[in-house]
Amino acid sequence: MINVTNLSKFYGAKRALGPVSFQIEDGEAVGFLGLNGAGKTTALRMLACDLRPSSGSISVDGVDAVADPHQVKQRIGFLPEAPPLYPDMTVIDYLRFAAELRGMRKADHARRIPDVLERLQLTDVAADVIGTLSHGYRQRVGVAQAIVHEPKLLILDEPTRGLDPVQIIEMRETIRQLKESHTVLISSHILSEISQTCDRLLILGRGEILGRGTEDELTATQLDVKQVVAMVRAPDDGRDVAGVLGKIPGVTDVAEPRTMHGTLTYVIDCDQDVRAAVGRALVGAGLDLLRLDSVHSELEQTFLRLVGEGGHASN
């Protein structure tokens, strides 16, 4: 779907991005993950033909985005960081305008817009002036304009920015639905957004791609130390749970357990992924295993390492 080769962007003498190369297949949901200023927005704007690259090539669905941007624009729906709305228009007029700009005929958008309104739960506010809507609704209208012309590729730049927790959950669900019918490219600096909605990640920092792959691939290649948390029901016979855990190969330390409501929670230091072994050992010892997980998000650790232990990217 997207083929990017040696793409770079300079603002004057300052490098904002690149050179970067990557491919995105049809039907994939790919996340651009990076700190603020990492070059995510610059990359997405170039993919959406809002900005011209300083060098390199972008091909979308086999069409060169620099040589033939109009063809590419017809295949793309773009939601920038700030939704491109006209506060003086009603929602339905705005969507008609967006559809017509993308070349849709009246009969087509008359059929399509009610579907889009329903899909994004905007039917009740269709006749409302955009300037009077809440931030969450505006964000949904932004998504609606991006999908109204049924594009193959959907580019969403920080789609949950500024939303409250309920709206974030709703937007996440919307994105999951959109994944079913579109190739989706999402940027975010919020790890949970990316990890919960995307199949594959591109981690950007200082204008370069620092890591790429699925969450498992990235964590497998980058993670060498872990903490695992295991919760068991407190045994009646006073068995030595820590002793069971300490014998597992790869476990380097077992902290004192936290006791709560008849359960024991152990934080286990290890030098490899020992979750499977911990599970087997505890169950094999006749203990009731209630919870087993990493203490921290593996992706979070991977991300922080890649971008330099949380240091902000320089661009």
Binding site: D50, R52, K73, P80, P84, Y86, D88, F97, L101, G103
Partner: protein, 241 residues
């Protein structure tokens, strides 16, 4: 052409919906009404002179109104980031500029049309012909188009409407100073520079006195085209920055 029409309809509706458009219209008509009363009706004059006074003051009002109407066209969209919708849709910068310009020109035409009662009063009470009025209004419309193009170019340069207004006023001001500048130059530069002037030679010496000439019409069309082209090129260049 279709994209131009879509953008034209949105922009015209935006003028009609926004208080800013109506405030500009009301202010332009109020100022012109006052000037017409002071300069045209307060003393005994030939009706042709009263009409000249009307077009003289109306041309200034038109230039200011055109700049003010135009400055929001691109700068406001950059500021609110709604321009991204146009930039990422399959429409050319030329279509964007043309649609916006034509909408502003239509609205300005509406303001001019609402002022027509003043020359009609002169016609009813004096001895002027309808063609004098029509030629004068053609001149105002062409002058307004040129100044809308100047304002649109200024608007394309920046995201700040105030700065766009200052730039538009500056460019527009320069365009009416060429005539004075030409006076202090020696031939052949005197003629060349004087002919670049947007008001003295082409409006005051032509449309304002009821004389229509191809040279003046071509001049205003060329001036409009030039600044619209600059606006298009500026929008294209911004994508590379």
């Amino acid at each position: 052409m279709r994209a131009t029409s879509i953008i034209y309809r949105r922009e015209l509706a935006a003028y009609l919906r926004s208080p800013a458009g109506w405030i500009v219209a009301a202010a332009a008509l109020l100022i012109e009404g006052i000037l017409f009363q002071i300069r045209g009706l307060s003393q005994e004059q030939l009706s042709a002179d009263v009409l000249r006074q009307f077009f003289w003051s109306m041309s200034g009002v038109t230039m200011f109104a055109a700049i003010i109407l135009a400055i929001r066209l691109v700068a406001e969209e950059r500021q609110t980031q709604s321009l991204v919708l146009l930039n990422t849709s399959p429409v050319s910068d030329l279509s964007i500029v043309a649609g916006k310009f034509l909408a502003a020109l239509t609205f300005l035409g509406g303001i001019l049309a609402l002022s027509v009662y003043m020359p009609l009063l002169i016609k009813v009470n004096g001895k002027i012909t309808a063609s004098q009025i029509i030629v004068g209004y053609l001149g105002l419309w062409l002058l307004g188009a040129a100044y809308l193009a100047i304002g649109l170019f200024a608007s394309a340069l920046t995201r700040h409407q105030l700065l766009a207004g200052v730039l538009g006023a500056l460019f527009g001001g320069v365009m009416v100073m060429f005539y004075q500048l030409g006076k202090v130059l020696d031939p052949p530069f005197r003629d060349v520079v004087s002919h670049l002037d947007a008001w003295w030679g082409h409006f005051q010496g032509g449309f304002m006195i009821g004389v229509i000439s191809l040279e003046n019409v071509v001049y205003y069309l060329a001036l409009t085209y030039f600044f619209l082209l600059l606006a298009v090129k500026t929008m294209e260049a911004k994508r590379w920055q």
